[in-house]
């Protein structure tokens, strides 16, 4: 009963000074709302980045053909097709490597009935889908036997299927690529945008041998443009990279002094950078918002100090009629705490509402997480205790005689 009596006194004192209480609370409301909103925006950005990264596949390398020099002109990477299907098969033997997918990409016109569509056609092996972490919506992937036999089968991305078949299920249909008939054996699951904004669903996948021999033949039989490699785990990335370079140098019979005629790129590093910067942004937004919460807390301390001074005589009266120091301490501490908790609640509502508004009007990815709400709320309460304690202690330390004499 006494436990409730002191809070009731604190509540009454607050309601007697309604306007001031609300204004003080406003600092808290804005601070908490800012924290909730900023964390939501940061979390949203982080999620977007993480999704893009996950859609790319994890622990990835890409092995590209090297640069060539022709008559003093350096032609840029990939200008000489030095990588072959056999290179890919050799890389697959490395213990730290999980999946290897050689890719021979090209662009071709696809036609089905009256519709036609130009898209990137990637010749590759069944492992490609594993490396890219890409399930099928319907149908089945092609097999190693399709690669050996260079069969004319194709897997379609969502965008391609949409443009050629509309809402029809393309599986089992026959379409034409560069006028050659291909059987659609599967529909890839949607993947959305890549990190650089490309539509990953605008793709057709065929066996690598079919691409080499029947669609995009060139003067270097058996070559591929690049090889996607997935390492067994993040821990063995460095080891895999070292071994791949060793194997490829050996296969390409490069002298000790010769430069690599290929390049191994670690895609995870790129992804980590992107994820890291998203996290840094999220952290920074949270930090800035926390400052407003801190300012709100200082506002509360300021008001509580004024309140203690203003109510010195009241404190004296309460002490004279039997209030102990801890009663006074508790009352003022509770006043500060209630302001913070009430302000914190209102701030959470405002922050969640703001996040919703940002999500619907600014079309941003925003995620309000429960942990962010709890965190900012706990921070608000802690602010109340921290900034309320000093004024409350000052009130409790007053001497009854002096407090009573105070004008």
């Amino acid at each position: 009963m006494k436990l409730l009596a002191i809070p009731a006194e604190a509540l009454r004192a607050m309601s007697l000074n309604g306007l001031r209480t609300v204004l003080t609370m406003l600092g808290m409301i804005i601070g908490v709302a800012a924290v909730v909103l900023m964390l939501a925006i940061g979390q949203g950005a982080q999620n977007t980045v993480n999704q893009s990264i996950a859609s790319m596949g994890s622990n990835l390398f890409i092995v590209l053909s090297g640069a060539s020099t022709s008559g003093g002109l350096r032609m840029g990477s990939g200008s000489v097709p030095t990588l072959t299907f056999a290179d890919a098969q050799a890389l697959a033997q490395i213990p730290s490597v999980k999946f290897v997918a050689p890719v021979y990409p090209g662009t071709a016109q696809l036609a089905y009935g009256a519709n036609n569509w130009s898209t990137g056609v990637s010749g590759t092996t069944p492992e490609f889908l594993e490396v890219r972490n890409w399930p099928l919506d319907s149908g089945h992937p092609f097999e190693d036997s399709d690669v050996r036999g260079a069969t004319r089968v194709v897997l379609l991305g969502q965008t391609v299927a949409q443009n050629l078949f509309g809402d029809e299920d393309p599986t089992g249909k026959t379409l034409r690529i560069k006028n050659l008939p291909f059987m659609v054996i599967g529909l890839l699951a949607p993947k959305g945008q890549s990190l650089d904004g490309r539509d990953q669903d605008d793709i057709a996948i065929i066996p690598v041998t079919t691409a080499q021999r029947k669609l995009f033949g060139n003067q270097f039989p058996g070559t591929v443009r690049y090889i996607s490699v997935q390492a067994k785990s993040a821990e063995v990335m460095e080891e895999a990279e070292r071994e791949m370079i060793q194997v490829l140098r050996q296969r390409h019979r490069l002298a000790e002094s010769a430069e690599n005629d290929f390049m191994v790129r670690n895609l995870t590093a790129v992804a980590q950078t992107a994820a890291g910067s998203a996290q840094a942004m999220s952290f920074m937004l949270g930090a800035i918002a926390s400052i407003s919460l801190l300012v709100g807390g200082i506002g509360i301390m300021n008001i509580m100090l004024v309140s203690v001074t203003e109510r010195t005589r009241e404190i004296g009266i309460r002490m004279a009629i039997g209030a102990r120091r801890r009663d006074i301490l508790l009352q003022f501490l509770l006043e500060a705490l209630m302001i913070c908790v009430a302000g914190g609640l209102a701030g959470v509502l405002l922050g969640v509402g703001g996040a919703w508004a940002v999500a619907s009007f600014a079309d941003m990815a925003v995620e309000v997480s429960l942990s962010a709400i709890l965190l900012s709320f706990a921070f608000a309460a802690a602010t109340g205790v921290f900034f309320g304690f000093y004024p409350a202690q000052r009130a409790a330390r007053l001497k009854p005689v002096e407090a009573l004499r105070y004008e």
Partner: protein
């Protein structure tokens, strides 16, 4: 056992510069339960300081103060607060009611610190307000009441814990003669009918005459202790 026994009470205030100003020079006094004592003396004579010490609002520099048999000197702040709550009712010159708090809640306030439930607090406060003739003003705020009514609310607040001792510091100082008489009648009745010990500081000889015993302070010492008649007129 006397209600109040004070032995060799000294009090001095430290002022800036390290010089101590003595206020009380060894006061010895005994007050029995049920007495009505008026304390007089010129300003600076130490009577207010003495009252503050009696009220456990201030502590003596040296000496002993036994209140209801207990030596107050060794008590902590919280123990003193509990003692004030249980044994002493205060009535001040300036009423010292909480502004913007109703008469009823002002009166009920000591019971809050005594640990009573809200309904019990309200009930007792209402009873006491009836005794002081304010049953129609329970929900009034102090600034809606006259000075006399405010002082009656303050007396009700002092009484609500049923303390054996009431300390009144110039309770009629801000009141007109007629109202002062009404207030003093209440004190007299409390003293006679309920046996409450009353100690009252005043400047006015008229007021002192309500008491049964006069203690006069001069320069921090008791200059007179005894009959009121013939000794109250020096102001």
């Amino acid at each position: 056992m006397p209600l109040i026994r004070v032995e060799k009470l000294y009090k001095q205030y430290e002022i800036a510069g390290g010089q101590a100003t003595p206020v009380l020079h060894g006061v010895d006094l005994t007050i029995e339960a049920g007495e009505f004592v008026a304390i007089m003396g010129p300003s600076g004579s130490g009577k207010s300081t003495f009252m503050n010490i009696l009220g456990c609002l201030d502590t003596p520099t040296s000496g002993n103060y036994f209140l209801d048999g207990e030596n107050v000197a060794g008590l902590s702040n919280d123990e003193l607060a509990a003692l004030r709550n249980r044994l002493i009712g205060f009535v001040f010159q300036g009423f010292n009611l909480l502004k913007r708090v109703t008469a009823l809640d002002n009166v009920a306030l000591p019971l809050l610190y005594a640990g009573l439930s809200k309904s019990a607090r309200r009930e007792q406060a209402r009873d006491i307000l009836k005794q002081t003739g304010l049953e129609n003003f329970t929900l009034s705020l102090p600034n809606q009441l006259s000075g006399g009514q405010q002082q009656r609310v303050a007396i009700a607040r002092a009484l609500v814990n049923r303390p054996p001792l009431i300390l009144a510091d110039e309770p009629t100082g801000n009141l007109d003669t007629q109202t002062s008489r009404e207030i003093m009648d209440i004190f007299t009745r409390l003293n006679r009918e309920q046996g409450i010990t009353i100690i009252l500081v005043t400047h006015e000889p008229d007021i002192a005459h309500y008491a049964g015993r006069l203690v006069r302070f001069v320069d921090g010492r008791v200059a007179h202790d005894g009959d009121v008649a013939g000794h109250a007129e020096h102001g």
